[in-house]
């Protein structure tokens, strides 16, 4: 039951956001609904991350690794909420602001959590399908090039102040996440045939969407900040990320929770 409600909520967020963003329905009239929908996505992820930490137990290594991921997504949720408050409620420019601190803090926390999970998985690269390794290599290279170009080269203001070059910090933050995020592909492959394979694959796709969104945000920063279509569609990539990562984290948690339930007297 809880599983079905969780999936239905995620699909509703994805579906309704897609309709609102792609068709730009209602224009400014739907701004409130659009913002609420946008915020509901990271709320779902934080909920899923808390669920997986609770399921593994904080005393387990997995529990502590996922706790870092939980803190990362909580940090993103705070950043997103502040952005909406500044932009929609107060009508002031949200960039740069304290929201950036929370956005940036999330990257190393999530990267560290993933690194711990990769370490715990003890990946045997020699036994992984070559196509998976090539995909991992190609995607990592493309993302490193994309992030470097859009968030470091394009964002650099020669002779500018630290304030002018704040965007560069996002570039370095994204780079911190690229390799750990892409390592989730071989990590997922380690569990092929097991029930946690698909959930890990969803987390991988979600984080890929996040980094793709970051890259496009850097390239189309000006029209995005002006709220122009189709540049605002970058939001859909981030919403997709939040929902897919939430599905992945909750998916792993539900697998383990179902096993634990076998010992609960009916």
């Amino acid at each position: 039951m809880a599983k079905n409600i969780f999936i239905a909520t995620g699909l509703f967020i994805l579906g309704a956001s897609s309709i609102l963003y792609i068709l730009d329905m209602g224009g400014d009239k739907n701004r409130l609904f659009e913002n609420l929908l946008y915020l509901s996505a990271p709320i779902l992820t934080v909920f899923a991350a808390a669920f997986i930490v609770r399921t593994y137990g904080f005393s387990s290594k997995h529990g502590r690794a996922f706790f870092l991921i939980f803190l990362g997504y909580l940090s993103w949720l705070i950043g997103e909420t502040l952005w909406v408050v500044f932009d929609y409620v107060l009508g002031i420019d949200p960039y740069p602001s304290i929201a950036d601190f929370f956005f940036l803090t999330a990257y190393p926390l999530i990267a560290l959590g993933i690194i711990f999970e990769v370490k715990l998985a003890d990946i045997k690269f020699s036994s992984i399908n070559r196509a998976i390794l090539i995909t991992f290599g190609v995607l990592t290279t493309l993302l490193v090039i994309g992030v470097t170009y859009s968030e470091l080269i394009l964002a650099y203001v020669p002779g500018g102040s630290l304030y002018d070059n704040l965007a560069l910090v996002y570039g370095f933050a994204s780079l911190i996440l690229v390799i750990p995020a892409m390592l989730i592909l071989p990590l997922a492959w380690e569990f092929k045939g097991g029930k946690i394979f698909i959930p890990w694959l969803l987390i991988f796709i979600g984080l890929f969407l996040d980094l793709l969104g970051d890259t496009l945000y850097g390239v189309f920063l000006e029209p995005y900040l002006e709220g122009l279509n189709p540049y605002e569609l970058v939001d859909l990539l981030w919403i997709g990320e939040y929902v897919l990562v939430a599905f992945g984290l909750a998916g792993i948690a539900f697998v383990i929770r179902d096993i634990q339930k076998r010992f609960v007297p009916k």
Binding site: T55, Y56, G57, E190, G194, I259
Partner: protein, 62 residues
Amino acid sequence: MTNEVKDQAVKLISESLGEVTAKSYAEFYKDKNDEIVKASVQELLIEVLGERKALEKMKGLL
């Protein structure tokens, strides 16, 4: 039944599925013999981690 097999099995479960699940299995394995414990943990790990990873983890126990 030796405690060694049971302890290793519970440790494997703890490493892969966390303490909460491991505690339930520790209780379940109390009166089970070695063969049942081995078969049970293998089946459980295959279900969650997939066959290759599960058998890799089971190496020390089999």
